[in-house]
Symmetry: C2
Subunit: 152 residues, 2 copies
DNA sequence: TAAACATATTTGCCTTGACAAATATTCCAG
DNA sequence: CTGGAATATTTGTCAAGGCAAATATGTTTA
């Protein structure tokens, strides 16, 4: 009977699908901004630089957890970024197993260029929301996150 | 100066990070539910079955676009799911280049088992939101999505 | 109609992430 | 203090996605 459903245009997506789509567009937006500046960097690398810039030096494991990346994958990302001179592996002062990952000057300078990309995309994303609505969105998402994590 | 930032616990994440975290927890939740039922299925395969169940048969390209999956990757997922007897590749009636992907009876039956997983996780995710707030969250996310997609 | 262009699917190649094992170091129980 | 459990990092292996090329078909243009 139904010859083929003219895919309703994102009519009534579930929360899961919607979150997925928003995430993909955010990543695309950021990567497009980065590429437009002639820079060569993936979203995950962008995130790593951002965490280090915002939070300062930390261990590889802390860094991996804060971007939800596997430890092994983090090792390889660090290889790449260190190879490009954007960060440094220093010995951790209290724990000889661990590293202290810190941005180099070049890494910090690069982030200065990137922070604009970040802000532009986030602003574009929220341009149709009022300030109140943006805050609510943030609040709701954090509550959803906690609900999911505390799901006994 | 700053000896090491005691990573503030998700204190003030940007929208991008937050969306990413929520998505990861949703995927984990769904995959855990699926595994708890003794079923062997990844999130992306879950999504594909869901789209076919909810929207009915469609071409591989439509399916790929609706879950934001690369066309080549979709071919391989279809290989797997067809090999397991969950869906069928039929010739498309109007377009001989294309396929008409449809669920088999086994695929439909499997989805009947999965729909509960889906609902439970989504309910758990939103359990701390009132009905009004859930609707608002949905609305905000759709507006963000459109803002990102229409970004001229 | 024919050529040029666009689209659907498949396949090969490459990169990346998840998972597990190996090694080094720390922490804890006794 | 010592053995055992836990943790940090690295590496190997494997599965999956992105991209580009190949093929088949459809659509548009001159």
């Amino acid at each position: 009977m139904n010859p083929g459903p003219l895919v309703t245009p994102t009519a009534q997506e579930s929360l899961g699908v919607l979150i997925n789509l928003v995430r993909i567009e955010l990543v695309r937006g950021i990567e497009a901004e980065i590429a437009a500046k002639g820079l060569d960097l993936r979203y995950i690398q962008f995130l790593i630089l951002k965490r280090l810039s915002v939070l300062g030096p930390m261990s590889a494991t802390e860094l991996a957890r804060s971007v939800e990346l596997d430890g092994g994958a983090m090792t390889r990302q660090l290889d790449q970024l260190e190879g490009r001179g954007l960060l440094r592996r220093c010995p951790h002062e209290q724990d000889r197993r661990a590293l202290r990952i810190e941005l180099t000057d070049a890494g910090g300078a690069l982030w200065q260029q990137l922070t604009g990309c970040n802000d532009r995309v986030l602003q574009a994303a929220q341009r149709s929301l009022s300030e109140t609505e943006s805050k609510r969105l943030h609040d709701y998402l954090e509550r959803v996150l906690h609900a999911l994590r505390d799901k006994n």
